[in-house]
């Protein structure tokens, strides 16, 4: 009886709840086809990607202070992967395995973290080509190249004489170069000088990294010793402006303290135009001086499934004084931030974050002004072009705090407004504002698929926001990071979706999914594995002692390790587990870790070899197991290592199943 009574009550509750939901939804409908927050009621259907279906676009966001890169599907906003780049990643052993540790080496030693800001696709003919995506490390200045077949970081190059690698890594039209300007000027070889000697001793180094068109390998080709401003953002030219790169800057006041006030004094700062073709000529003429320095270049070698790290001790530096015609300064109102080039390559848009207009410069006007020497003096020999001679138009009253601009390929530009928290759409040529949409809240960068390239896919725009405040369920003092998706297919921008991101999403790049899906690596061929510690067949597994080092050559397959019983390890030994995943199918990684591991775990892709270093501190039995659920018998995928006292005489032995221990 009692049970029955409860049952009735329960059903009653369910009915009540259901009717409340219905009521609630009914109340939510508004006559004007809009729901609260200015979202059309059909917004949900525009971002709904049915189970098992793929998104139309990939979105790559910077992971900000996580140091990584986030990969999302659009329009759903679903997080697909976090690509480890500058930070150790406990999820898959990046920066923990012996093979991947060299990726994080720098002239400052092993660095487990950085702050990543700007993803940038490699380009062919000014259009994303789907080969690589680059991203900058801001804190310990580096540029990383990620392979878009494997979604793995393939290379990281450090930048000498730089600090705060912010205006980076923007590609020239055919990825001839990836550029990088230092945000914090420092003495070039980082000499021990008084901070007060800023104007004499500090320089704002700008780096040009050459990219091999076949394998993507990066090489710091040359640096330009530019004035000690804060080089903030950049974009390279295309089409007519192919030979040029543009860098915005603030702090032309050359302040070294309280920049908040002292670097906001001048009415105009600059956009620097760099003629890199000219720089190449000077380089070929031997105008560069070779500067002694130290920086690292780390490369992932796919065939050995491991990274190499090399220190480079020299860099070629061009001094603007020796290289006339290489650099020009273009005045730009009030501490410009964004520096964006439209799809035709004719217009360069500056985003003066404290300015009341958005200045747009004409490349052809710039060329003419240079030819007819329409200069307004110079800065340390670098000509300053007259503002009115190079200005093509100004977008009047766009809003407050213009930052960055992307393009839809249909003649419109979209500028983010940080202070007034909105996206402003304006027409190229007439410079009139045609639409504005609020963002929630405080937008930084924005992203249209291909929106900084020659051929944008102008269907969506993504707002990358700095503040989320009340938009999501609260999670204590630290709230989620967030992006917002808008449709830009019609005349009016339409908000479709909020979605959380890993933090902090600065810039992003997006492209049609098929550009990348057609050429994905699904697993590594075991035959091609040239890792020095690979085990290609179970019969070759072994455990070997070399002094105090113990090397265990282990294989994994659903669902056992071989060997899985190991004895003879002693306290004080350094044990290396070289685990090869013998699977040859998609989506069958195996994990590996051992009790008390002070390191991390391994997540080994099919056909790959990874090594975990382990230094047992005490005697006993230590289980190891597969951490990635691999099959119905995954729970059985385990083994034991016996650790004996340092002076023990237990010999190394290993076995699996009924086999006699070897």
């Amino acid at each position: 009886m009692k049970t029955k009574k409860h049952m009735f009550k329960a059903i009653g509750f369910i009915l009540l709840f259901a009717s409340l939901v219905t009521l609630n939804t009914a109340c939510g409908h508004k006559k004007n086809n809009q729901q609260a927050g200015g979202v059309d009621k059909d917004a949900a259907s525009k971002v709904y990607v049915a189970p098992g279906k793929y998104d139309e676009f990939y979105l790559f966001t910077s992971g900000g202070f996580s140091g990584q890169m986030g990969v999302y599907g659009l329009p759903s906003g679903r997080l697909l992967k976090v690509i480890p780049v500058f930070s150790q990643n406990p999820e898959n052993g990046y920066g923990y395995s012996e093979e991947s540790k060299p990726m994080l080496m720098t002239s400052h030693g092993f660095i487990p973290w950085d702050d990543s800001h700007h993803p940038e696709f490699s380009m062919s003919n000014g259009t994303p080509d789907g080969k690589w995506i680059f991203i900058n490390g801001n804190n310990t200045p580096r540029v990383a190249r990620i392979n878009l077949k494997t979604f793995k970081t393939d290379e990281i190059i450090e930048l000498p004489s730089s600090a705060g690698n912010h205006s980076s890594p923007f590609c020239t039209e055919n990825t001839e170069y990836v550029v990088a300007g230092t945000r914090f000027s420092i003495p070039p070889t980082n000499a021990d000088v008084s901070i007060k000697s800023y104007k004499q001793n500090f320089k704002g180094m700008i780096s040009f990294i050459k990219v091999d068109p076949t394998d993507g390998k990066m090489d710091l080709s040359f640096q330009i010793e530019a004035p000690p401003f804060n080089w903030d953002l950049s974009h390279s030219g295309k089409g007519p402006s192919h030979d040029w790169s543009f860098f915005s800057c603030y702090n032309t006041e050359e302040a070294h303290t309280l920049l908040e006030v002292n670097a906001s004094q001048n009415d105009k700062d600059f956009i620097l135009a760099v003629n890199w073709k000219k720089a190449e000529e000077y380089l070929a003429q031997g105008k560069a001086k070779v500067m002694k320095n130290s920086y690292y270049r780390n490369r992932w070698i796919e065939k050995t499934h491991s990274a190499t790290s090399e220190e480079i001790k020299e860099v070629k530096v061009l001094n603007p004084k020796d290289c006339p015609g290489m650099l020009y300064l273009i005045p730009c109102p009030k501490s410009p931030h964004g520096c964006d080039v439209d799809p035709t390559g004719e217009y360069i848009v500056g985003g003066g974050k404290l300015a009341t207009v958005i200045p747009v410069y004409g490349f052809s006007k710039m060329v003419k002004a240079i030819e007819s020497k329409k200069f307004d003096g110079d800065f340390e020999g670098i000509p300053i072009i007259k503002y009115e001679e190079v200005m093509a138009g100004e977008v009047q009253k766009p809003g407050l705090g213009p930052l960055h601009t992307e393009f839809d390929g249909k003649g419109y530009a979209y500028t983010s407004m940080f202070l007034s928290s909105e996206i402003v759409k304006w027409k190229i040529g007439t410079w009139e504002v045609v639409d504005r949409a609020p963002t929630y809240y405080s937008i930084g960068h924005l992203c249209i698929p291909g929106g900084d390239s020659k051929s944008p896919w102008g269907k969506y725009i993504v707002a990358l926001n700095k503040i989320t405040k009340d938009r999501y369920l609260p999670t204590g003092p630290e709230l989620t990071q967030s992006a917002q998706l808008y449709s830009i297919e019609g005349d009016k921008m339409k908000l479709l979706l909020d979605f959380p991101t890993i933090g902090e999403p600065h810039y992003a790049q997006a492209c049609p999914a098929e550009l990348l899906t057609k050429d994905q690596t699904k697993f590594y061929k075991i035959e091609d594995n040239q890792n020095p510690f690979v085990t290609k067949a179970e019969k070759d597994t072994k455990a070997e002692r070399k002094g105090t080092e113990v090397h265990i050559y282990m294989t994994s397959i659903r669902s056992h390790f071989k060997p899985d019983n190991i004895e003879g390890v002693k306290v004080g030994d350094i044990v290396y587990f070289h685990v090869t995943n013998l699977e040859q199918d998609w989506d069958v990684p195996h994990g590996f870790t051992i009790k008390g591991s002070t390191n991390g775990e391994l997540l080994i892709m099919p056909g790959e070899t990874m090594t975990l270093k382990w230094e047992p501190k005490k005697e006993g039995i230590f289980p190891f197991y597969c951490t990635d659920f691999c099959s119905a018998l995954h729970q059985e995928m385990q083994g034991y290592v016996r650790v004996s006292a340092a002076k023990s005489t237990v010999p190394i032995s290993f076995s699996l199943g009924d086999e006699a221990a070897k």
């Binding site: 409860h6 075991i526 071989k562």
Partner: protein
């Protein structure tokens, strides 16, 4: 308070119980047939479809429609042994069952076409071929495609033949 709490628990439990029920029904549907047979042999009885007696007439499902068997080719068998040791020995032995069924005598129990299709098309075989389905139900670990070519599979088959001829 106490009663309310218990009531709430019941409401919460309701879908859980229902869920399990559904899952139970689903899994009992997916089971296929009963599994019995002598230890170490891949002898299986299948409720419907081919029985062990039919095994030498079932070519399986996959790219291999017909295999012409000639005299034993020692060179090919040697190649097959190399591939087997790297890609198959992780789960199969000849003298006893391991992760998967024992392979000693397999060429006497199965058509050469079935053996090669099982190597080349395991995902579909496990789903569609009654004998392969029953083996999966018995061993529970799905046989995986190990990225071998049809020539590789043929060489491994030759290695099996050599082993069974001993």
């Amino acid at each position: 308070m106490k009663r309310k709490g218990r009531l709430f628990m019941r409401i919460l439990m309701l879908p859980v119980v229902l869920g399990f029920g559904v899952a139970g029904i689903l899994s009992s549907c997916g089971g296929g047939g009963s599994n019995s047979g002598s230890e170490g042999q891949d002898t299986v009885k299948v409720a419907s479809g081919p029985t062990i007696a039919d095994s030498m007439t079932n070519p399986g499902i996959g790219p291999v429609k017909h295999v012409e068997l000639g005299n034993l080719d020692g060179v090919m068998a040697k190649k097959g042994q190399g591939i087997f040791e790297s890609k198959c020995a992780t789960c199969h032995k000849f003298e006893s069952k391991y992760v998967g069924p024992q392979l000693g005598g397999v060429t006497k129990r199965r058509m050469p076409e079935w053996i090669m299709n099982q190597m080349l098309n395991p995902a579909e075989m496990i789903k569609e071929d009654p004998m392969s389905k029953a083996l999966f139900a018995k061993y529970l670990v799905p046989m995986t495609f190990q990225n071998i070519t049809q020539d590789d599979a043929r060489a491994i088959l030759e290695y099996f033949r050599q082993n069974d001829a001993k």
